[in-house]
């Protein structure tokens, strides 16, 4: 069977057609913070449908963790915030109609920077923070009323002040990570229609059930009155999570009484969702022999104008920040902060790349201060089987040292350290989490899987089909896996955080057992992972299983221009058990290439709240010609046979491995991306070259 994505037969949301369908276009704010004082639709051509604030007045607010968004903004809070929308017979007519709608604004003071936004007296992006009650608001949210902080997460473990008193060397540095863009090949696209008071939305989404819940809340419907059908996605990387464009399309369709399709033009992608820019301060102390005594970490995640999943991103940025080390005294403060930038949300790595960059650079700075080999310093402090993490949870199936040793060996660390760098990471999975799947037998020896796992190019459908075929004892071509449809499939938390193969794989085992025990026609399986953290102390279960990886890099630096060349890059990822080797390898390679982009040059650049580079000419992503001379990776398997997710694990270790390689040449970098210009600044700062 040839993959329809290869033959061009795959039908993406952008390709959908429906009888009488209209095409939509969004009218967006040109100001980072303003109030709409007037809308003039008199010049909009006849026959176009215009969605104005009064058309959405009856609609509920939304937001999966903080309920801070309306379908149209009367007070736009970022450049690109939707203030109106139009629908017309063709995409071009819709564009012309949108251009003929005139909006008057009164500008308001804006706050474009995360550290400015947390200052007392900073302009408030939102006056109050209303908690959401959706399934994605699953953890204890701690909005700080009267400030721009919509969630604060803390870890308090041990006596941090006492720990620093025992330290012989302390590093205290502040690191910055730029915003990045997902740049999926396929833009956001959806088709919405109403039939007999029931809303049907076809869209590319990783989160069909969260989307259904949000749409039901907005339109005041029972969730069963909303149907979400997932189309295959031409890439997502986190961009197609939760509600993006679907509510505007649905509201236009309601007003028009016709189906409405909304496809975002490329530049509007940058106004829709990016990755959180972050500032991370790391203070890390150790005894003279290298034993870590204390860590104190502050993370500021810039979530832009709307929280989206930012509180979750900030929390994971925080709880992964101490890293896979035994540190007896830990304090973490992570803040999810509003600014007047476009919203930031889920992005491959989910906050953990940002804090990993800071911590792993700090570990190397500490090794330098102590005069120790960075590999030996890490090995001395790494978590081992049965150790307790700073959240209080015991760690099992632990392979950090093995990953790190493999990375070190691959780059010849012990032969010569010059120009080389290492990093090691842990990364959490969505916890608590639930997954369910139904297996139905046909009369002809085939089986149909009904589950909400969405395909975005990551190969989940293929991996789960292979698992099902193995469990059912049939060839994979006897197993069908139709696109998720909330009318048909059982509930699933969402296809995120590299959890699908792990969670759905276990649900599938239960479903096949159920099928075999009950006559072989239909089986249902469900698994739930309990856990979660106290948001004020960070104690509990952060992740029911941890993603583990290490990276090694070797670089050359053109000291006159600051241009970096990655000669060698290797990652070692713990997989537990590999289900689909080619797919798993592609996930590793894709993660590494995205990591290279974030390390070397990807950056969403803002000026006065406006994205300066909202196109793929001015926003550079890696090409194959940017790959290191040698780029390799390996998947480590363990005796336990437990499946470990790996959809994004190889991304976070890449930037710090490169940063540490550059640091071995005496060039200390604190900010991502490591542009040649920043490297030249490090060259100017260098006081002496390390031995």
């Amino acid at each position: 069977m040839t993959d329809p994505r290869v033959t061009g037969r795959a039908r993406y949301a952008e390709d959908l057609e429906a009888e009488g369908m209209l095409h939509a276009r969004i009218v967006r704010s040109p100001y980072p913070h303003a109030r709409v004082t007037g809308l003039d639709a008199s010049q909009v051509p006849e026959g176009c449908v215009v969605l104005l604030p009064e058309d959405v007045r009856d609609l509920g607010r939304y937001g999966v963790q903080i309920r801070d968004q309306s379908v149209l903004a009367g007070r736009p809070r970022h450049v690109g915030d939707p203030v109106a929308a139009v629908a017309a017979g063709s995409a071009r007519a819709a564009e012309e109609a949108a251009a003929s709608l005139f909006v008057d604004y009164e500008e308001l003071p804006a706050v474009p920077d995360v550290l400015q936004a947390v200052q007392p007296g900073a302009p408030l992006v939102h006056e109050g923070h209303e908690l959401a009650s959706t399934g994605a608001a699953y953890f204890g949210l701690r909005p700080q009323q009267g400030t721009n902080v919509c969630h604060r997460f803390r870890i308090r473990d041990g006596d941090v002040a006492g720990g620093f008193e025992q330290a012989e060397a302390v590093v205290d540095e502040t690191f910055r990570v730029a915003g990045a863009h997902h740049a999926a090949m396929e833009p956001h696209a959806c088709l919405a229609r109403w039939e007999q008071g029931r809303l049907e939305v076809q869209t590319g989404t990783q989160t069909p059930f969260n989307l259904r819940e949000e749409l039901a809340g907005i339109f005041g419907l029972e969730p069963e009155r909303v149907r979400v059908v997932c189309r295959p996605m031409g890439g997502s990387f986190g961009a197609k999570t939760f509600l993006r464009t679907e509510a505007i399309a649905a509201a236009l369709a309601r007003k028009a009484g016709r189906p409405v399709k909304l496809v975002l033009p490329r530049d509007e992608e940058w106004q829709t969702l990016n990755r959180h820019p972050a500032v991370v301060r790391v203070k890390l102390g150790a005894r003279a022999d290298g034993t870590f005594t204390a860590a104190q970490i502050e993370c500021y995640a810039d979530t832009g104008a709307y929280a989206d999943s930012g509180p979750g991103v900030a929390q994971k940025m925080g709880f992964a920040a101490p890293g896979p080390y035994r540190i007896p005294n830990v304090a973490v403060d992570a803040y999810c902060v509003y600014t007047n930038l476009p919203p930031n949300g889920a992005f491959r790595g989910y906050g953990q790349m940002q804090s990993t960059w800071a911590r792993e650079r700090a570990v190397d700075l500490l090794a330098d201060r102590l005069g120790l080999d960075p590999l030996e310093l890490r090995l001395k402090n790494l978590l081992r089987e049965g150790d307790r993490y700073c959240t209080g949870e015991p760690m099992h199936d632990v392979h950090y040292a093995e990953c790190l040793e493999r990375a070190a060996e691959a780059i010849g660390w012990r032969d010569d350290r010059r120009g080389k760098g290492l990093s090691v990471i842990l990364k959490g999975m969505q916890t608590p989490s639930r997954a369910a799947i139904a297996v139905e037998a046909g009369d002809d020896g085939t089986y149909v899987l009904r589950c909400a796992t969405a395909e975005m190019g990551q190969g989940a459908i293929h991996a789960i089909t292979l698992l099902a075929a193995e469990l059912l004892g049939v060839e994979p071509d006897r197993v069908r896996f139709p696109a998720p449809d909330t009318d048909v499939v059982p509930f699933d938390t969402r296809t995120t955080s590299s959890r699908s193969t792990y969670m759905m794989g276990r649900a599938l085992e239960a479903a096949v057992r159920d099928l075999q025990a009950n006559g072989g026609r239909r089986g249902f399986g469900e698994v739930a992972n309990a856990g979660g953290l106290d948001p004020d102390t960070g104690q509990g279960v952060a992740s029911t299983h941890w993603h583990q990886a290490a990276a090694g890099a070797e670089v050359r630096v053109d000291e006159e221009t600051g241009k970096l060349e990655v000669v060698r890059l290797h990652t070692a990822v713990y997989a537990g058990r590999v289900v689909n080797r080619p797919g798993a390898e592609l996930q590793n390679e894709g993660s590494m290439i995205m990591g290279l982009g974030s390390a070397l040059f990807e950056e969403v650049v803002f000026r006065d709240g406006q994205v300066v580079n909202p196109n793929l000419s001015d926003y550079a992503i890696p090409s194959f010609a940017d790959l290191p001379e040698r780029m390799t990776h390996e998947l480590l398997e363990g005796e336990s046979g437990e499946i470990h997710g790996l959809g994004e694990t190889a991304l976070p270790p890449v930037p710090p491995a490169i940063g540490n390689a550059v640091a071995s040449l005496g060039l200390e970098l604190f900010d991502l991306p490591m542009t040649p210009e920043r490297v030249t600044e490090a060259i100017e700062r260098r006081v002496g070259v390390k031995a």
Binding site: D267, F601, A625
Partner: protein, 252 residues
């Protein structure tokens, strides 16, 4: 020619479409009409005799791979070969890259250093325009509204030339700084591209007897570089000094 004379500025000329396509997609351009050269015969050719003649519709890829160009004008072939990706080079044309006058393209600086001239044709006739007089500023040329750029002529004869592209980001990115240098019968031309509204050439600084590093520093001082996502003005100055020196060393 008649169509161009009739519609003038109102019709946007499309050759390969790599520039116009981006401008339209980014809504920076919304032309009422396009004048496509795609099916106009006789505009795509490489003719190498005493001088090289390239038809305006010749693609970058054709120039890059042409045995005649690689043999007689290897630096020119290399300047076309480093543009973006093969997908783009299969579309982008010789005429287009000059007529759109995009400051961040590679070939114009090299063509200028080689002493090339563009041929502009209209219903009124034909004229030759040296590249230094063709590109005036960002997206601005000296072509009249009824003129079409139909050919580029590059002098032949013994010469040494080099093109260095410095990218600050992805390999497929446009240059942050591009340096073209050509030495012909004792005359030296150094041209720096992608740093200002037009290719930067300072004849007074191009003394072939001067130390390469000195020429590099002199160019870095003479240019008023732009600041953008590829690098700040001060960073570009630093790179200009280095890359001009390296180009002259390569040339020696």
């Amino acid at each position: 020619m008649a169509l161009k004379a009739e519609h003038g500025e109102a019709a946007t000329v499309v050759a390969g479409g790599t520039f116009v396509g981006i401008m339209v997609n980014q809504r920076l351009m919304a032309p009422a009409a396009f004048l496509s050269l795609r099916d106009v015969p006789g505009l795509a050719y490489v003719r190498a005799n005493e001088e090289l003649r390239l038809g305006a519709m010749t693609t970058h890829r054709t120039v890059e791979l042409s045995p005649e160009v690689c043999e007689g004008w290897p630096a020119l072939a290399s300047a076309f070969a480093v543009v973006a990706s093969p997908r783009v080079r299969n579309q982008a044309t010789v005429g287009g890259v000059l007529a759109d006058a995009d400051h961040a393209s590679d070939p114009p600086s090299m063509l200028l250093a080689l002493g090339a001239r563009a041929v502009a044709r209209s219903v009124r006739g034909e004229r030759e325009i040296p590249i230094e007089d063709l590109i005036l500023d960002f997206y601005s040329t000296s072509l009249e509204h009824d003129e079409l750029l139909v050919e580029v002529r590059v002098p032949g004869g013994p010469h040494g030339a080099v093109y260095r592209k410095f990218r600050s980001r992805s390999h497929e990115d446009r240059p942050a700084v591009g340096v073209a240098a050509c030495r012909r019968q004792g005359e030296l031309r150094v041209v720096v591209g992608a740093v200002a509204g037009r290719p930067q050439w300072f004849p007074a600084l191009c003394d072939p007897s001067r130390d390469p590093a000195e020429v590099g520093r002199a160019y870095a001082d003479a240019v008023e570089p732009i600041s953008d996502v590829s690098g700040s003005a001060s960073y570009r100055r630093r790179v200009i000094a280095v890359e001009v020196r390296r180009a002259l060393v390569d040339l020696a």
